[in-house]
């Protein structure tokens, strides 16, 4: 099957002796929103790095609009798992990094900073931001550039639940407005289902695709839509290797020695 924006077939990706990815293939059409979910360490960030052209030592074939990914291409933008703001630039200059120093007065910068709730911090340096604020600034920077394909690596994991929902809707509206295709890594299954047209589920050791869930709901979506909840359950099942088993740790905990015993007050003896 051929997709018109991204065609990815990574046969193998090794870090030294460790095979991190084995036989992962998927494609994305222009305008789609696709999520990658999977256990920690299954190679999601590595896949994004390959698509972004940051990692070229893999075997397989990846095509973006028919060309292999290369760094410095303006087709692909990437919001990293960490903020990666440039510490010597003010927040507004970071957001408008694409335009150079003169870009910080661009009206879109002001607008984006307002949307991510950082209007008052346009002239602050990254050291003055909290972790979540830095991540929001990084999201604004990622949205400022308008690539055809925007890769997002757990973009909202460091922000509070309320802001997260606002940012999710912001992301969808910005992407919809500019026709940006999104490939998003997340650990939050309901986020994946709410945002995406398709959720690709990965399994680990080595990283491979364990299945795909298609979310066929029209946007704007209602977060309480039972169809979405059903899709979430499907994703969770895939994440659990096709079973709905849940981890019962009570036996392990009961058999483990208690490290600390509360002293019974009655056993204490106060000599008066």
């Amino acid at each position: 099957m051929s997709h018109n924006l991204l065609d990815l077939a990574v046969a193998a990706k090794d870090f030294q002796a460790l095979r991190v990815i084995k036989n992962v293939r998927f494609g994305i059409n222009a305008g789609e929103v696709v999520s990658l979910v999977g256990p920690s360490g299954c190679g999601k960030s590595t896949l994004l790095r390959i698509i972004g052209g940051l990692d070229t030592s893999y075997s397989g074939k990846v095509c973006i609009k028919g060309e292999p990914p290369h760094l410095h291409s303006r087709e692909v933008g990437l919001i990293f798992q960490e903020p990666r703001l440039l510490p010597w630039l003010m927040v507004a200059e970071n957001v408008a990094f694409e335009l150079g120093r003169k870009g910080r007065h661009h009206p879109y910068v002001t607008q984006l900073l307002a949307e991510v709730g950082l209007s008052d911090f346009a002239t602050a340096y990254p050291k003055q931001l909290s972790g979540g604020m830095a991540q929001r600034a990084a999201i604004a920077r990622g949205l400022f550039t308008q690539p055809s394909l925007l890769l997002l690596d757990e973009p909202f994991s460091a922000v509070d639940a309320f802001t997260r929902r606002r940012l999710q809707d912001l992301l969808l509206s910005v992407a919809g407005h500019h026709g940006t295709t999104l490939l998003l890594v997340t650990h939050d299954v309901s986020e994946a289902v709410y945002l995406s047209d398709r959720v690709i589920v990965l399994a680990d050791r080595p990283g491979r695709i364990s299945g795909q869930v298609i979310v066929g709901e029209a946007r704007p979506r209602d977060r309480r839509n039972p169809q979405l909840i059903r899709r979430e359950a499907e994703v969770l099942t895939l994440l659990n290797d096709g079973t709905n088993a849940f981890f019962d740790l009570s036996y392990d905990l009961a058999s483990a020695p208690t490290p600390w015993q509360a002293a019974r007050l009655s056993s204490l003896n106060f000599a008066i």
Partner: protein
């Protein structure tokens, strides 16, 4: 009324105590030198040390006033500062250019770095006779020596700064399509700026050191010459005055660089114990 006035007066006391503390903090650095000067003066006055070898501070003040009065001191300061300025700019400027080339390109590094490491091992004063032979006894050998002194700290720190730029930040530049000189200007140089400043500051202090070395050996003006002159005419007061002026000049020029550093590198997230 008294309930109201009590907190008010404590506040006043507290704030005046605070100002007093701030004053103490500001002048405490002068305490030790002041005590030393007093001891020095008494020891010499009491005749325990020869006045000829260790002139008392009061006499130094007279000497300083004399030198300043007839304009000679200003002349010496001017010529010495000019030498340092020119030598430092040449040395540091070359170091920035060569350091950038070596730090940014593995091939240039393999080609040039061993040579510079070997040159660095030469004790700098060993250059003096050669420079005198080659360049005569004019300004050229002095400025060259100062430039050599300024070169190495700037070069070493700048190369280290460029080579230690975080991969994660370079990747950001790559994602934004930066290559070549634009990647260098927008990622590598700003990231290496803190190291560059460390190098510039130690290069500047070495420049002053090498200035004295150069002027001690062959000069007819400048603060180093004043030192030689004082020794040859047996005037310890001249020597000490020259030393003090050198210390002040070194400190002033370093403070200028520090000021620039604070202005340009305010973005750094460093642990800073200085009171704000």
């Amino acid at each position: 009324m008294s309930e109201v006035s009590i907190p008010a007066s404590t506040a006043v006391v507290a704030s005046s105590r605070f100002e007093f503390k701030a004053l103490i903090r500001r002048v405490q650095g002068l305490l030790v030198p002041a005590v030393l000067v007093i001891i020095w003066e008494t020891v010499v006055r009491a005749g325990w040390v020869s006045q000829h070898l260790l002139p008392p501070p009061s006499e130094l003040v007279t000497t300083l006033a004399d030198l300043a009065g007839n304009g000679t001191l200003l002349g010496h300061i001017g010529i010495s500062s000019l030498r340092v300025l020119i030598g430092f700019f040449i040395g540091a400027g070359l170091a920035v250019v060569v350091g950038a080339a070596v730090g940014l390109s593995r091939r240039t590094e393999a080609l040039l770095d061993p040579t510079f490491q070997a040159l660095r091992a030469i004790p700098s004063l060993a250059w003096v006779p050669l420079l005198l032979l080659w360049l005569g006894i004019d300004e050229a050998p002095k400025i060259t020596l100062i430039a050599i002194g300024a070169f190495f700290p700037v070069y070493l720190n700048f190369v280290a700064g460029i080579q230690n730029v975080e991969r994660k930040l370079v990747e950001v530049g790559g994602i934004y399509g930066l290559t070549g000189y634009r990647l260098i200007a927008r990622i590598f140089l700003p990231a290496a700026l803190p190291n560059l400043f460390t190098g510039l500051r130690s290069g500047l202090s070495l420049s002053w050191m090498f200035l004295v070395a150069a002027e001690l050996i062959a000069a007819s003006s400048g603060l180093g010459y004043l030192l030689t002159d004082g020794r040859e005419t047996g005037r310890a007061d001249l020597v000490i005055v020259a030393i003090i002026v050198l210390a002040l000049l070194g400190k002033t020029s370093d403070s200028l660089l520090l000021w620039l550093e604070v202005r340009l590198l305010g973005w750094r997230d460093v642990f800073d114990t200085r009171p704000s």
